[in-house]
């Protein structure tokens, strides 16, 4: 039942009508829905056991801390979260969490693992389709190399259980992102987070104008960035009108355009805009552009100047995705301040800690610790470790459209759980055990419970603690 057969039918109908003018006008062919998920997730959770962690300090991910807490999970899902009074179900494997901390798995909304993998050689450099500033047709998942050793480091050192892989920022429209479970797979589809919406990577500022301006092409300026983005949205609106009409009335199927399909997905509210944007004034321009064309920006990534417009971000319900203390690597990061994350949080906006880096993704908890401490020293009220954990799992899940599935330790959600060997807001602490969908994917005390990528097999250091 391919599209082609429908098109053939429609063509023959048109021919018939041309020959017999007096016949009643035939009804147009009914519309055919395009498959919006042609590379579907094949992820299947691995088996787990009924587990109860007891006597741990628990960060639930939604701002709560439970001392002497209990977390119960089974069948891939969180079953119960409570204090010492919460009984272990019969048959549960009990883990003594005394002195340990338990949190939701960390979610990194900005990673290039797989599309800029290790080793960082040209042959594997698949993050930027820098051949045109408008490339919404490319999909990051088609670049993801599941054997990138970086995934394992993010898991065992970083406690990262979910991550969004984005195309790079050379382009105004960089392409679609993909959300992955940090569970090794043979294919990217094996890692794909079931039911997670797609994202569209957009970029403003220096990168697009540098990459194309240096080639003598548009955009060469920030005004060129905006103009080209607006022209593209105008086309996308026309494309959407055409397809909406087709889906309403049927008839001849319009010609497909992969780039426009992604942008139509944004205008339809199905694809979330993940917008690389550093400067406050540029974020304001992007917000106006979104209003002009009727789409929503889900998150500004690398929002180094978010603190200057935290009120604007809160009013527009846009997350700010930030580093704790990166600064000065280019002009648009010149005004970074160490209190950015807590100031955005304090303004009532959604603050997120991200990595954009295969090393920092292993220490996002420590990055949050610095931001928390800087915020407290600046006198920002109502901060705590439990509140700061929202920046690491709850808010990221919100920005990825998967908060109903993971991001907090809430009964019924995926059992994406990290048990830390100490307070994760300390440089001395590390994950001791990590579960994804209730399956134990890492145990520091068991060398077999540690992923080793194909690339590292037979190499010096294979299976090392890393």
């Amino acid at each position: 039942m391919s599209n082609r057969s429908w098109i053939a039918l429609a063509l023959s109908a048109a021919l018939v009508s041309g020959c017999a003018e007096l016949a009643p006008k035939p009804k147009p062919a009914p519309p055919v829905r395009l498959n919006e998920d042609p590379y579907p997730s094949t992820y299947v959770r691995y088996p787990g056991v009924l587990t109860a962690i007891r006597h741990a300090t628990v960060f639930t991910g939604d701002g709560q801390q439970i001392n002497d807490g209990t977390v119960v999970f089974a069948d891939g899902l969180v079953q119960a979260v409570g204090g010492p009074e919460l009984a272990s179900p019969a048959g549960a494997v009990e883990i003594d969490g005394t002195g340990k901390y338990v949190s939701p798995g960390i979610i990194d909304v900005h990673s290039h693992l797989g599309d800029y993998p290790s080793p960082g050689v040209t042959a594997n450099s698949d993050g930027n389709e820098a051949t045109s500033p408008v490339r919404p047709e490319v999909w990051a998942e088609h670049s993801v190399w599941p054997q990138d050793p970086g995934f394992s480091r993010a898991l065992i050192n970083g406690g990262v259980t979910t991550l969004q892989i984005l195309p790079g920022s050379a382009n105004l429209f960089g392409g679609r992102s993909v959300v992955l479970k940090n569970v090794p797979g043979r294919t990217a589809q094996d890692m794909k987070f079931p039911g997670a919406p797609y994202g569209l990577k957009m970029a403003c500022g220096e990168n697009p104008k540098r990459v194309y301006g240096s080639k003598g092409n548009m955009p060469q300026t920030r005004m060129g960035n905006i103009a080209l983005a607006r022209e593209t949205w105008i086309k996308a609106q026309a494309y959407k009108r055409k397809w909406d009409k087709y889906y309403r009335n049927g008839g001849d199927m319009p010609e497909r355009d992969l780039a426009m399909e992604t942008l139509k997905g944004v205008l339809d509210g199905k694809i979330l805009v993940q917008n690389h944007c550093y400067r406050a004034d540029e974020m304001a321009n992007m917000i106006d552009m979104a209003k002009e064309f009727g789409y929503k920006i889900t998150a500004f990534h690398h929002a180094v100047e978010a603190y200057k417009i935290a009120d604007l971000l809160a009013a527009n319900d846009i997350c700010a995705v930030m580093w704790a203390d990166w600064y000065g690597f280019k002009m648009e990061s010149y005004d970074a301040i160490k209190e950015n994350i807590p100031l955005v949080h304090n303004a009532g906006a959604c603050a997120i800690v991200h990595s954009d880096d295969p090393n920092y993704i292993q220490r996002l908890n420590q990055e949050a610790a610095k931001a928390l401490a800087d915020g407290e020293r600046a006198g920002i009220p109502n901060l705590s470790e439990a509140v700061a954990w929202e920046w690491l799992s709850r808010n990221p899940a919100k920005a990825l459209g998967i908060l109903d599935k993971t991001g907090t330790l809430t009964p019924g959600k995926m059992a994406d759980v990290v048990m830390w060997n100490g307070d994760p807001f300390s440089d001395y602490s590390r994950p001791e055990r990590v579960w994804i969908d209730g399956a134990e994917m890492y145990d520091a005390n068991d060398p077999k419970k540690r992923p080793v990528s194909d690339f590292e097999l037979g190499q010096p250091g294979e299976g090392d603690v890393k």
Partner: protein
């Protein structure tokens, strides 16, 4: 007895104008020499130097300022083991703001000193986080030799240079191969040729110096104190016809060849490290320090046996390139356990800006002691790796990097454990002078911490 003597010395010293004599008491004092922290310790500073520190009680002259550090930690300032601090204000697309790399005609002769700007905001940001000194290396341009690096302080003044031309920096791994035309084999022949040319110049240069009299011997004084005013340009300093280096560059390598200037060698791969150890056998006078050494743990015994110090990346654990396939965060701990003198640097890791990360990395190395199968280091060792050890690697341990008597009084009073990134530097002293901790960033915080509109725009808040 000793205490009394020290007190007497303090009394006797007529403090020059502007000199700071003070004591810090009741803090948790860590000396940076590898020893564990001391509760209720004391630090005494006079004329910009440490008089004594640790578990001591000293009678102070009346009127000596005493800083109560109850609940605080006191350590030497952080010494960034390898960096490019002061060479770049902004790294990308900002003309005039980046002096890390020279693609001009010279290489070994390059000296970072004229390029260092003590007013870079990067210097202030790191000062405010307790980094007080840094080894600053140039980046390699067209040649395997990057040029001569310096040791600087981060003080809020216009005199940043602690030790100019302290070391030569050379790339002998993957980067070196790229500079040499694409192969490590080429790198090594270029390196040997460069030393040959320097050796030739040395032979000719010696008579020139002798002729100028009053110079006792070639070994007593480096031929090139400053390559920018080289003395080996006279007509007597003949050279062979088959030379690749300019006269300046060859002259700059003479002190390296003589063992009068340290040679920092960047290599990561285990086999590259062994090649460097081989060079040490071939040229025993070279005072080499390995930089990077991500695969050092594979050949740790041999590095230890050669007695070559290592300034390593602390937590590299990715096979980020084919020369780092065996990278692990246990590298530093395993090399240390094998007896290698290891310190931590920021090798190609935000090296112009984020030196404050070193104490977080050092904390991570301590954290490894709790991980089965991993090798970490003790707290005292970890602190030493970001204070005294890098100083010792280039022969400056007697001057900076610890709270031993006589060292420059580079001190930080921290809000808490300095190996926790969440702790902050509350007071920073360089050469005994208290430093301002204000930065571009702190000013921005003040301006924007409250956003509601006021009678005048934000630009008027200053």
């Amino acid at each position: 007895m000793i205490r009394r003597v020290l007190a007497a010395v303090l009394l006797a010293a007529a403090a020059p104008v502007g000199a700071q004599t003070f004591a810090i008491v009741n803090g948790i004092v860590a000396k940076g020499d590898g020893s564990p922290p001391i509760q209720g310790g004391m630090v005494v500073v006079r004329d910009g130097r440490i008089v004594a520190a640790g578990d001591i009680r000293m009678k102070l002259p009346a009127g000596t300022p005493v800083i109560d550090a109850t609940g605080k930690w006191v350590t030497p300032g952080i010494v960034a083991g390898f960096s490019r601090l002061g060479l770049a204000e902004v790294d990308l697309s900002a003309e005039g703001a980046d002096d890390t790399t020279s693609n001009g005609p010279f290489n070994a002769a390059i000296d970072v000193v004229p390029a260092i700007n003590p007013l870079d905001t990067t210097v202030a940001v790191n000062r405010a986080d307790g980094v007080t000194r840094a080894l600053v290396a140039p980046s390699a341009g067209r040649n395997i030799f990057a040029g001569q690096g310096a040791v600087i302080d981060t003080g809020a003044d216009m005199d940043p240079i602690t030790a100019p031309r302290k070391f030569q920096f050379v790339e002998l791994g993957q980067t070196g191969a790229e500079k040499a035309g694409g192969s490590r084999a080429s790198t090594h022949i270029l390196f040997r040729n460069a030393l040959r040319e320097a050796g030739e110049l040395r032979r000719f240069a010696a008579p020139i110096q002798a002729a100028r009299a009053s110079v006792p011997s070639e070994l007593e004084q480096p031929i090139v104190r400053n390559p920018n005013e080289s003395r080996v340009l006279g007509p007597e300093a003949r050279r062979s016809e088959d030379v690749l280096l300019t006269r300046f560059d060859a002259a700059a390598l003479v002190p390296v060849l003589q063992g009068r200037q340290y040679l920092l060698v960047h290599v990561e791969r285990a086999s590259d490290i062994l090649q460097v150890l081989e060079l040490k056998r071939e040229f025993p006078a070279l005072k080499m320090v390995l930089v990077g050494a991500s695969e050092g743990w594979l050949v740790a015994d041999r590095i230890a046996h050669a007695g070559i110090p290592v300034i390593a990346s602390a937590v590299n654990d990715l096979p980020a390139s084919f020369e780092e396939i065996a990278a692990t965060q246990s590298n530093v701990g395993r090399m240390r356990a094998a007896g290698v003198n290891v310190s931590i640097g920021m090798i190609d890791d935000n090296d112009t800006r984020n030196l404050f990360m070193e104490r977080q990395y050092a904390g991570n190395l301590v954290g490894l002691t709790k991980i089965p199968g991993a090798t970490g280091v003790s707290w005292g060792e970890a602190l030493a790796m970001i204070t005294s050890k890098p100083a010792e690697a280039i022969g400056m341990g007697g001057e900076i990097g610890s709270l031993a008597p006589g060292r420059r009084a580079d001190l930080v009073i921290w809000s808490g454990d300095p190996l926790e990134g969440s702790s902050a530097a509350e007071q920073v002293y360089i050469d005994g002078v208290r430093q301002p901790l204000e930065t571009h960033q702190t000013r921005l915080l003040e301006r924007y911490r409250y956003l509601p509109r006021r009678d005048l725009p934000e630009a008027y808040r200053h």
